[in-house]
């Protein structure tokens, strides 16, 4: 029996000795924790010394005990020490992003008429967008945001574009207001990827989501007011967005004919809703409706002078009612990115005709993070009527893109992308796009 008692005692001793070995992390972790504890203690001593108060070691270490009142002097000292630390997040916060690109096409003529692509050469380097992003907190609920982008143009000239300038005021979770120049909330892509190439998985934007100044189809910027917020909906996670503003879109013809279209927009209304259900984190489903009145004033891109109208056209003063319906389903979680967006752009002639031109467009993109590499595939489709005087340079275009993004670190990404585009009435277009995108 004595043996049994000894055995039990030894078991107890061993269990006591063994348990820490099981629970103890590996040596580097232990050292790290000890270093952290020393830092904690040093910090605590510093705070206590600064307050010149007796140690609070006598405070019982239990969350259930009543809380002693905090002295005003202590609170002031605390706030002062913290303000010093928090100072880093006050003032103007600067961030930036940029890109260096190399693009080669199977034709000696630029597509999108953008980014300094030199006609006559099949491949070119260019710098795309270089952006300076500034934010400043004015009060707990008010802040300013600006995004200044230097766009690479022809002959390595640069154009400054104030992509966003917003005075933001959050009334609460249900109402957040922005006043100034904003990116229209048509669809998911414009919200998620903004202007920075570093944010995007792919090297370029889908054509339908390309900035209007680069030949994209949508009015991507406007000046006015933008409201957004949550709608009480439990686990459905319903949100709304409402915008009223003026855009004055001038988009270059993407066929490279040296012309651009000044849409002379009126004031637009854009209303959208989206869901982020709790049940499937990463899923977002949304829809939006946009309405505006536009023109199709054709300009010579080089001089900005109006070009003569083609015979039989309704003339530069003709107006069209433009509506843009959008719907999307995206899933971004667990390293998977699955984006699907569809658009129907309707240009209805006003006063002079009953003609309505429909331009359907969609893109679908899927990618998966695998360590530092994210391979991706994208398919896009745009079908504009050749009789639509606003998008007749676009026509029918569709095709896949595939490639990979490699993140060198948390700030620099290298992308390689191959594109194949089928075009109505023109030879298929193949492209190689290499990009070094970074943020700082």
């Amino acid at each position: 029996m004595r043996h049994v008692s000894w055995a039990a005692a030894m078991l107890f001793l061993l269990s006591s000795l063994c348990y820490p070995q099981v629970a103890t992390p590996t040596d580097p972790e232990t050292i790290g924790q000890l270093v952290q504890q020393v830092k904690d203690l040093q910090e605590r001593v510093r705070i206590l010394e600064s307050q010149q108060r007796p140690t609070d070691a006598s405070v019982p270490n239990s969350p259930n005990l009543p809380t002693p009142p905090v002295e005003p002097a202590e609170e002031a000292a605390t706030a002062s020490a913290l303000e010093q630390k928090i100072h880093e997040t006050r003032g103007i916060q600067w961030r930036g992003f940029g890109e260096v690109d190399y693009k080669a096409l199977s034709q000696r003529q630029p597509e999108l008429g953008a980014y300094g692509f030199v006609p006559g050469s099949a491949g070119n380097f260019y710098t795309g967008d270089f952006g300076l992003f500034l934010t400043s907190k004015l009060t707990e609920k008010a802040s300013v945001l600006s995004e200044i982008v230097f766009e690479d143009g022809d002959a390595q000239t640069y154009k400054v574009d104030l992509r966003r300038l917003l005075l933001k005021y959050d009334y609460g979770e249900h109402l957040k207001m922005s006043f100034g120049r904003y990116q229209t909330s048509i669809g998911y892509y414009n919200w998620a990827f903004r202007s920075a190439a570093w944010l995007q998985t792919t090297a370029d934007r889908p054509l339908v989501m390309e900035f209007a100044s680069n030949g994209g189809l949508l009015p991507t910027q406007a000046i006015g007011v933008s409201l957004t917020g949550t709608i009480p909906s439990g686990k459905l996670g319903l949100n709304y967005v409402a915008e009223y503003g003026s855009s004055d879109t001038i988009r270059p013809d993407i066929s490279g004919d040296g012309r651009e279209t000044d849409e002379n927009n009126g004031n637009h209304v854009n209303v959208g809703f989206f869901l982020r259900p709790d049940a499937l984190r990463g899923l977002q489903i949304g829809a939006s409706y946009y309405h505006d009145k536009i023109s199709n004033l054709a300009l010579d891109a080089a001089s900005g002078a109006p070009v003569p109208q083609t015979p039989g056209s309704p003339g530069p003063s003709a107006r069209y009612g433009q509506t843009i319906d959008n719907g999307y389903v995206v899933y971004v979680a667990h390293g998977i990115e699955f984006l699907n967006e569809g658009f129907l752009i309707r240009d209805a002639a006003l006063h002079f005709s009953n003609t309505v031109y429909n331009t359907p467009a969609f893109y679908s993109q899927v990618s998966k993070q695998m360590g530092h590499i994210r391979p991706f595939v994208r398919f896009q489709y745009v079908n504009a009527s050749p009789n639509d005087l606003i998008y007749n340079d676009v026509g029918l275009r569709f095709g896949p893109s595939f490639g990979a993004r490699y993140d060198l670190n948390d700030y620099i990404a290298l992308k390689a992308q191959l594109d194949h585009t089928v075009r109505r009435g023109e030879p298929d277009l193949n492209g190689l796009h290499l990009q070094l995108a970074f943020t700082f």
Binding site: M1, V4, S5, A8, A9, L11, F12, S15, S16, Y19, A23, P25, G32, Q36, K39, D40, E43, R44, I47, D56, V59, N61, P63, L65, T67, P68, V70, E75, T78, A79, L82, K85, I86, E88, T89, Q93, R95, F97, F133, T135, K137, E140, L145, E147, R164, L166, K168, D170, G172, E173, W191, A192, R194, W198, L199, D278, A333, H334, D410, T439
Partner: protein, 160 residues
């Protein structure tokens, strides 16, 4: 007599194991703490994730949420990354993305110690922080997470 002699050490042994287990569990628990004037008493994992992901900006009473976090390598940071389902690198990139989208002003400020976290929670009415169970001090209001307080069996927010 013989049976009693056998049982006593075994019971002591079992009791000590249970105590050690409980102590170890408490040591790994990370508490969700707020200012003691904050009327909130409990948060679900979804709510806490939304707060620390910067998706939820206000407490129900309309007070702006102010997030405080610890730096990499600490148990509190480990618990945060587990909550968000991110690696340290993904966390950095997530906040850079949020800033460039205009959804956040800055990455939540990492404080060098739990002492500083305590000071921050006391100083700011909308403050919320994750603090190791053993570092809970007066002035911190500990919230229930998924219906449980740190130290209770089944508490889910762990820093190990």
């Amino acid at each position: 007599m013989g049976t009693r002699t056998l049982l006593m050490p075994l019971l002591i042994c079992l009791a000590s194991l249970v105590c050690l287990q409980a102590a170890a569990a408490q040591a790994g628990d990370v508490a969700v703490v707020v200012n003691d004037r904050n009327p909130v008493n409990t948060l679900s994992s979804t709510e806490l994730r939304e707060i620390f992901a910067g998706e939820k900006h206000y407490w129900a009473a309309g007070v702006p949420i102010r997030i405080f976090v610890r730096g990499p390598g600490t148990p509190e940071r480990n618990a945060l990354l587990k909550l968000l389902g991110m690696t340290e690198s993904e966390y950095k990139r997530y906040w850079t993305t949020q800033i460039l989208r205009g959804e956040a002003q800055a990455e939540p400020m990492p404080l060098p110690s739990n002492g500083m976290q305590r000071e921050a929670v006391v100083a700011y009415p909308g403050a919320v922080a994750l603090v190791g169970f053993q570092d809970i001090k007066a002035g911190m209001k500990v919230l229930k997470f998924e219906g449980r307080k740190p130290g209770e069996a089944g508490y889910a927010l762990q820093g190990r």
